[in-house]
Amino acid sequence: MDGGREINPVPARPDEAQVPKVGVDSWVASHEGRVRMNRFQRELARVPRPAFYAAFAVGAALVPALTNDAYVVRVGFDTLLYMLLALGLNIVVGYAGLLDLGYVAFYGFGAYSYAMLASPKFGLHWDTLAVIPVVVVATALLGFLVALPSRRLVGDYLAIVTLFFGQLFVTVYQNGNRISFLGITRGYDVTGGPNGIPDVDNWNLGGLKIGSVEGYYYAALVVFVLVLACVYLVDTSRTGRAWKSLREDPLAAEMMGMPVNWLKLVAFGFGAAIAGLTGTLFAALNTAVFSADFDVPTLIIVYSILILGGAGSLGGVILGALVVNVSLEVLRTPGHATWIFYIILLATLLVKLRPWRVLVAVLGGTIAFGFAAHTIFASAWPRSVHGASNIGGWLGRGFDSWSLHPSNGHTIGNVAFILLILAVLGLTLLSGWWRWIAMIPTLYLAAFVWDNSLVVEPSITRLILIGVILIVLMNARPQGLLGTSRVEIV
């Protein structure tokens, strides 16, 4: 094009090392230089990332060998599924910066497609090695299709279109037992409607049948490692860098000649394909699919995993899924949940309350307040100490004389829950000594609410907790646990 004319290569800038990275504020880009690391952290930072992933894979592979409890393996399997989902979402949200709120629909599409191709529903029993490519390609195409009308849309519009697409998916699959063509033909049963599709086949990899929970655990682990490797390679590739520049500044990316629309489509398709693949695992282990499994709560859980770990960070996806899913499972047992609650409460106070005099005053005040309140209530109104806490032993007995457990604790706990929210909100408005003094009854109220109400309704408590995680994390540390902070340039 330039007639074979010799062009001198651009000489390297003398201040190459100080130049900020593309799309990052220079103060943020020079963050690493300002952080003082101790020797251990320096050594840790030198280890290449894939070594950590390999260590995780080896550790995860040992889990079924270490335990005989099928429940633990099942929780591990679910956690791996969430990791896979978060990996896919990470591409769309973390790398390309597109807020895709219809993501679980692709997961559902994959699960339903597997169920249709490998169940007595249509009499098809395909080999899994044949189903997986079909499902992955079909889900990727669906992702393309959704992204097509939304590719010109900026942030919020994209969010609303995809959110609505997710809702539409649930409605269509829930009513898919009488689909007729424009009302002309008779209604055909395609998705089983509210009953879903039962009796889904197990994975059958060219004759190798997977039938046990352990088998699925290993299958999920292998799929996870493969997908992780794939995403890692893409992350460091040309396309990965293009996605990140798209996230930082779509306008500048377009100016630099990047095919912005195409990049968006590919991100959507790639993320969707991973979700579809995960869906096949989900359908096979549960041996049935229902559209209700692919509704907003699942979406929020996947988002909170991604946000907690740090969008754009692969290690963050692993950590986020471990924290969210494992802690949620532990919360199912009231005894464990009580322990976790108090340990978290104590740890937060230890970290947040400075100087130590205030810490001692607040902790001592709370304990004294509890005993005083317990004595007063026990003499004035005996029914308020009727119940017992969920932890046993000498600690539990001591605890019983501290905390109140009224006989109708459930109802009172729900009202106290509202009071607690108001008290915490009020607390943020106070300052100085008033804050420490007001904190004492608030802590006691929190313990009361947890013991009497939240701990006995684990399913809702989990969801409330996730909502709170999202709000608090976004306000306190928007980059998540392992993410890198970035500044949007306006």
């Binding site: 939304s150 969008a311 729900n414 829950f417 509202i418 996730i466 909502g467 709000i471 976004m474 928007p478």
Partner: protein, 311 residues
């Protein structure tokens, strides 16, 4: 042609459309000023509906109301609007304020978190079951038996008249507020250019609080209207209503107040005609088709002005 069905669906569409329009107005106002998609707005509507329900229970329940209907309605609206407005201000203060200069994705995810939190907290405290305003049995069903006849034998109850008229009055009041008062002027300026408004001495924080209060108060009122006309309230009612209302705002032109009203009517009518002529399961598909069509043909909405992207 079946005129009875047509007129019935028309009335139902206008009634439902006015509820959507009220919610959409709040969405549109907040979006206009903060460029924030407030997912929790639908849940403010739910809380408003439950405040109304609580008052019905306090005054003896639907079958045995111990109070004049008109007085009850006034009480319901005033407390739902105040409660909704305060909730909106609290959400703004505690969840969104610190995120004004954060990357755009952060407030969106926070909004999802707030919405999720409100829904589940409401379910924990109020129970997951459906509750009913049961306005058919207030004082022997006065609200529905009285009314007037439209052509084609369609009866319109006072309840529906109250909903539509109430929505229109609120919209007129809002328009007067935005167009005629000093604070309204400040709101328009902030929506046009927040930084420039701040430089001109407008207290932007105060304007944002007022916007959240007004928008959420309208959502609270919409909750009561919905309860009167459609009876049922439950903790998750806000999600779908909020979604439809946001689509109404987008269809009409987001940030444009008459556009939101028009969008609300379009979505309400589309939904009710889809239910009447096809099946209620097609509602979402039809609304989705309208949204996609508008976004492709006229991304700025029916009444919106095309936004010029500043670099």
């Amino acid at each position: 042609m079946n005129w009875n069905l047509f007129v019935t669906e028309l009335v139902a569409g206008i009634t439902h459309g006015s509820v959507y329009a009220l919610i959409a107005l709040g969405y549109s106002m907040v979006y206009g000023i903060l460029k924030l998609l407030n997912f929790a707005h639908g849940d403010v509507y739910m809380v408003g509906a439950f405040i109304g329900y609580g008052l019905i229970t306090v005054f003896g329940g639907a079958e045995a109301l111990s109070i004049n209907i008109a007085l009850l309605l006034v009480l319901m609206f005033v407390s739902a609007m105040l409660g909704g407005g305060l909730l909106g201000v609290m959400i703004e203060r505690f969840a969104y304020r610190r995120l004004r200069n954060a990357p755009r994705i952060a407030p969106l995810i926070t909004a999802l978190g707030v919405s999720f939190f409100l829904e589940n907290a409401a379910q924990l405290v109020l129970g997951a079951q459906f509750q009913s305003y049961n306005s058919f049995s207030w004082k022997n069903g006065e609200l529905w038996s009285k009314g007037f006849m439209l052509p084609a034998q369609v009866h319109v109850g006072i309840a529906q008249v109250i909903v539509v008229a109430g929505a229109i009055i609120l919209m007129i009041l809002l328009t007067l507020f935005v167009q005629r008062t000093q604070t309204g002027k400040a709101m328009r300026a902030t929506s046009f250019d927040r930084e420039a408004a701040a430089m001109m001495g407008i207290d932007v924080d105060r304007v944002i609080v007022v916007t959240f209060f007004l928008g959420s108060a309208l959502a609270g009122a919409a909750g009561v209207f919905n309860g009167i006309a459609y009876q049922q309230v439950w903790p998750y009612m806000g999600f779908q209503a909020g979604l439809f209302a946001f689509i109404a705002a987008v269809v009409g032109g987001i940030g444009n107040l008459p556009g939101s009203v028009l969008g609300g009517l379009i979505i309400g009518l589309a939904e009710s005609f889809a239910t009447g002529y096809l099946s209620s399961t097609f509602q979402e598909a039809i609304v989705f088709a309208i949204l996609i069509a508008v976004l492709i043909v006229r991304p700025s909405g029916v009444l919106g002005r095309a936004a010029v992207q500043k670099v």
